[in-house]
């Protein structure tokens, strides 16, 4: 297999911008996207007219977004509103910059699902399984966590460690939606949604937008802040069980192992070198699957691994220091990539990881992706 190893440290994230997170019925996707874009432009000090590449994710119509921002790029890409797209989009932008298709790419993600009452199940996500009442990504993750319990004896109290660690981080993040402390007992007593999962295993649904601006490492030197380099990427899709959406009977273990091999080889590091993990957490079990698949612990051992605060800011593997999807904001991976950048710049205040040099983004989904970021 031809690798992308030659792209190591050649492409950089130079600007990031986020909106407030919450319930904003007064704002359209485009209004939120414009706020995030403006923040990212200010963050890197670029003349916005230099931007010649545009990626829109969950934004309804890329052309309207371009109209709103006064952009007429030479490279444009529209991505669907799936959580797995953020890592994919950043890798696509990396390739576009490397090939010269664009010099400066703005990637914009918007979400108005909270104020518009999106459910993620039932008739809005019709499927073959509706007559049996099986619906929603949460149900698929409940099905997988039940299997993890059966096979490895993982407990819901161990699962709670994930939600509790991320909530503690959210309490240190002034931008986070969730402000209330959470204990393992709170998690155990929360109302069940699709058992074995409970409310506190589910991500938030909130409005907001994120913008990331990327360019070559060389051009990045002329911008305002120290660039954050993409040191490694990895990818593997698993489509053969797509009719049961968001489900894999082995929790995407093989795909995660494959992705891990690619990303660690390209970056020249391993799991023990990672200062902080940004782990896609649509549902808390995804974090356990990710830790196993990427070799932070052995297969089936994630329950024991997360016990005692391993994922906390002062634990062995600080993870989702912004609070993640579970407690910061439902920005479908995008805010986690922004948090990676902010950690490497040392901008995270009370939640700053000490001596932070290497951050890894991981999304274990039917399109498993990972990105390793480092300081220039």
């Amino acid at each position: 297999m031809t690798s992308m190893d030659a792209l190591k440290n050649k492409i950089a994230i130079v600007g990031v911008g986020t909106t407030e997170y919450g319930n904003f019925p007064q704002f359209s996707d485009y209004a939120l996207g414009a706020k995030a874009f403006k923040a990212a432009v200010e963050d890197c000090g670029i003349d916005k007219n230099q931007i010649d590449g545009l990626v829109c994710c969950r934004v309804p119509f890329y052309a309207r977004m371009g109209e709103v921002l006064g952009l007429n790029p030479r490279w444009t890409l529209q991505m669907p509103p799936h959580g797995r797209m953020s890592g994919m989009a950043i890798i696509e932008a990396m390739l576009a910059i490397e090939t010269g298709a664009a010099d400066y790419v703005a990637l914009i993600y918007t979400n108005i699902g909270r104020s518009r009452r999106v459910n993620y199940g039932g008739d809005e996500a019709a499927s073959l399984w509706d007559p049996w009442g099986f619906t929603s990504p949460g149900a698929a993750h409940a099905m997988m966590f039940q299997m993890h319990q059966n096979r490895y004896g993982t407990t819901t109290r161990q699962l709670a460690e994930v939600s509790v660690a991320f909530r503690q981080h959210a309490l240190l993040n002034p931008d986070a939606v969730m402000k209330k402390p959470m204990t393992i007992d709170d998690h155990e007593e929360a109302r069940p949604i699709v058992e074995p999962l409970r409310l506190l295993d589910y991500c938030l649904i909130n409005d907001g937008a994120v913008c990331v601006i990327m360019t070559s490492a060389e051009r990045a030197r002329d911008l305002k802040k120290p660039p954050v380099l993409i040191s490694g990427v990895g990818a593997r899709d698993a489509f053969s069980q797509s009719s049961i959406s968001n489900f894999d009977e082995n929790f995407w273990y093989a795909e995660a192992r494959d992705t891990a091999a690619q990303v660690y080889q390209m970056a020249g590091v391993g799991p023990s070198d990672i200062d902080g993990l940004m782990c896609y957490d649509n549902f808390s079990p995804t974090v356990l699957f990710s830790l196993e698949g990427f070799g932070f612990c052995g297969r089936g051992e994630s329950g024991a691994y997360v016990e005692g605060g391993t994922l906390g800011l002062h634990g062995a593997l600080p993870t989702n220091t912004d609070g993640g999807h579970l407690s910061n904001s439902y920005m479908q991976g995008w805010a986690l990539n922004v948090e990676a950048v902010r950690q490497l710049r040392g901008e995270c205040g009370a939640r700053q990881i000490k001596d932070c040099n290497i951050i890894q983004y991981v999304a274990v989904t039917p399109c498993t992706r990972s990105i390793i970021y480092s300081r220039a």
Binding site: F134, M144, Q241, E249
Partner: protein, 135 residues
């Protein structure tokens, strides 16, 4: 009485033979006439060899339990009276996976790998739903 749960999607022509077999109390999967690959859910071409020649084949209705969940939230009003209700994931003896329900109440003992068998519940005059009992 009106049936208020979701019906099979009327425009899903690919699945129609499955529902027709179900009305005759037969579970079925799609099998490729050229390479013999058996698959479910159905596909317009064989995912293994891309042949367009495929036939619906009745299968044993036997399988093993892979997983199960309990819904405490109804995404359709028709399921509210059933709350909490279970869905199960079954690997058919012939290979493919199917999501369904247990027939009757939640079985007292559940474990991955338990043998299960399909039974058929006539939900309306025109629509029969396969469910599973643990053997």
């Amino acid at each position: 009485m009106t049936y208020s749960k979701p019906l099979p999607q009327a425009d899903d022509l690919l699945m129609q033979p499955f529902w027709e077999h179900a009305r005759a109390h037969r579970l079925s999967i799609q099998r490729c006439d050229d390479c013999g690959d058996g698959h479910f859910p159905p596909s317009p071409v064989c995912p293994h060899c891309l042949s367009e020649e495929q036939t619906w084949e009745p299968v044993s209705g036997r399988g093993t339990l892979l997983s199960w969940v309990t819904f405490h939230r109804a995404y359709w009003g028709g399921f509210i009276p059933d709350l909490p209700y279970q869905c199960c994931l079954v690997r058919l003896a012939e290979g493919p996976l199917i999501v369904a329900n247990f027939a009757g109440d939640k079985p007292a003992h559940l474990a991955e790998g338990l043998p299960v068998r399909a039974v058929f519940h006539e939900m309306t005059e025109h629509f029969t739903l396969p469910k599973f009992i643990v053997e």
